[in-house]
Symmetry: C2
Subunit: 363 residues, 2 copies
């Protein structure tokens, strides 16, 4: 299997290295071979090649079965025009491989409960849901867009939220399919009370729901969803949302697990790899954290769990994926921590040592 | 002073009655006269007159110095076309009086700390900020909008996020002016990294910031803001946001106070009343809560605190406003609660009795 590694900026390289260590242990234990190649992306690529997503990197991604991404961004790039900014690489990759489904598991690890900002009464029953966010449509890409200056000097900024029924149906189907493998409940989020795009969203989700009579569906307005995530996080199973609503809901929800250093994401789409599986894109949600970069302080567990998702979705290696996830839980239960999630009585490890502990527990 | 009361649906009438009781006590104590008139709105108006915002109600609002609103909505109206739905009255009123600034204080009352879903480590230092949300622009009103069916049968839902520099500048000025009377910090929220409307937002906020060199300004991306509200709620003073971002951020932030039954809102605009002050619109954020309506169970404190905001912003009666706010704090400190915020060791009162306790402590 060919994996394109795009370590990127900040802590990206060190956490990606951790993920590779663990993936190699999984490959050895489960008897398959992984071929990794590393390519520049984001600010690192801009510095080297003048663009955040160079041709060489694009070609490597084209040829790969899956893309393992670190993180991009840093304060030194904030002043650049958008198309040169590190984050532009993300949008380019999403669009190029039509990665329409962003899966964001929101899982509270019981040994980390104290790190959650929420009280135990709220999270005590467990939190385990997955946000399924549409990733290549909506206001992120809709036309017309731009800033124009009218004749009288008025400046006007415009973006367009636009969804077709087909775009909504495919992400809804992804959500319902995932719910079938879980607790069979989909919570769809929109602002159907003020947005027609949201009304169409709700209509099409209900149409797709009829194909899945065994899955329960509820609709929440986006503002109410932002509240309910704090009131009854344990009630959700699959939360389905547009690109924009999924963006902030997944970050809000990530926060309540108390451990964003542990949360992976997978972006899947129409493009298939040589195995006939989705050529997925796997990215920890934590970002580049320039303040701690290069100091062996970062938590590699999100990147490692990205590796597990990659094994599952792009390589079909479910057993190996489960082994990685179990190894992570075991390491946490045994009291190993990185600095971001340390509590009294636990052993604090560096990035590399944490990855090694996980790798040792595989197979 | 003329106050148009629009009690609306669900618990709207009973909480509004509570607010009127308290406002009358304040008027008596501070030596001014209030003239209240009640008018149908929302579902109640639709049932009576076939429209959620009847002419009679509109005329009364036109003539009033301020509008005291209860709540609208109920499950029986969910199937109606949007223009007949109770919530349509809200958008009509916002637009009619150009109520461009929605002020939402996010205040954690120390005696209610245990009701917050957040841990004490996070909220222990106190939470006291105000969200200043743009209320008559952006994607709520932008054109083009609608659902169309293309020739090939594709359905397409469209909404438009659009802001001019003047629209951004006036809400920004409101935010900075409010910050000057507080802790002199504005946190402006956008998605400037993916939306041009957000880039213009950020540019204009920075331009306005130059008029307020004594006020600190920070910019947060909306997804990050959704996280930071849970991580460092005590750090915010004034949070400035567009219509759509303000919608969910204010509900998320409200939730963390643990007492949405206590949170008022004021919507102010260009329209002035006979006093030369903004003809404000005052609405508790809790909604109509049909499940407990008519049973004297609802918490009237949000409506009462709306009354305080009304005294301050539309009538210029700052002393009376402070007296109402102090009376609410005193009642809570003395251990009086409504059912939604009760904890062991407190005395649970009904809606009317709670309002009476507040009224008794004024002046
Ligand atoms: C970097 C940015 C463009 C991106 C987004 O808004 O989608 C990020 O917030 C994310 O969620 O992956
Ligand atoms: C009822 C609805 C139109 C409204 C909004 O989205 O503005 C509500 O959520 C609010 O925040 O006042």
């Amino acid at each position: 299997y060919r994996i394109a590694c795009l370590p990127g900026d900040g802590i990206g390289p060190e956490v990606t290295r951790g993920a590779v260590t663990v993936l190699e242990a999984a490959a050895a234990a489960y008897g398959f071979a992984l071929e990794f190649s590393a390519h520049p992306v984001g600010g690192a690529a801009y510095d080297a090649a003048g663009t955040p997503f160079p041709d060489e990197t694009r070609e490597a991604c084209d040829a790969a079965d899956a893309i393992l991404f670190g993180a991009v961004g840093g304060p030194q790039y904030d002043g650049l025009p958008w198309e040169h900014r590190p984050e532009a690489a993300l949008l380019a990759i999403r669009k190029r491989y039509d990665l329409y489904a962003n899966l964001r598991p929101i899982l509270l690890y019981p040994p980390l409960r104290d790190a959650s900002p929420l009280k135990n009464e709220i999270i005590g029953g467990g939190v385990d849901f997955i946000i399924v966010r549409e990733l290549v449509g909506g206001i992120y890409f809709g036309e017309p867009r731009g800033i124009t200056t009218l004749e009288d000097g008025t400046r006007r900024g415009v973006n367009t939220e636009v969804y077709t029924d087909a775009e909504i149906a495919r992400i809804a189907r992804m959500g319902f399919t995932i719910a079938r493998g879980r607790r069979r409940k989909v919570t769809s989020v929109d602002k159907a009370n003020v947005m027609e795009a949201g009304r169409l969203w709700r209509t099409v989700v209900d149409e797709v729901a009829r194909e899945f009579p065994d899955v329960e569906v509820e609709h929440l307005l986006a503002d109410n969803a932002a509240m309910q995530i704090l009131r009854r996080p344990g009630d959700f199973d699959v939360m389905l949302a547009s690109n924009l609503f999924g963006d902030f809901l997944s970050d809000e929800a990530a926060m309540l697990t108390g451990s964003i250093g542990l949360l992976p994401s997978a972006s899947l789409g129409a493009a298939q790899n040589r195995l006939g599986l989705p050529k997925g894109f796997y990215e920890p949600i934590h970002g580049s954290a320039p303040d701690i970069a290069g100091r062996d302080l970062a938590n590699p567990l999100a990147a490692i769990l990205c590796g597990a998702m990659l094994l599952r979705h792009s390589l079909g290696q479910e057993e190996a994926a489960l082994a990685v996830e179990r190894a992570v839980v075991r390491v946490l239960e045994e009291g190993f921590r990185t600095g971001d999630i340390k509590v009294p009585g636990t052993a604090v490890l560096g990035t590399a040592a944490m990855a090694a502990e996980v790798a040792r527990r595989i197979g």
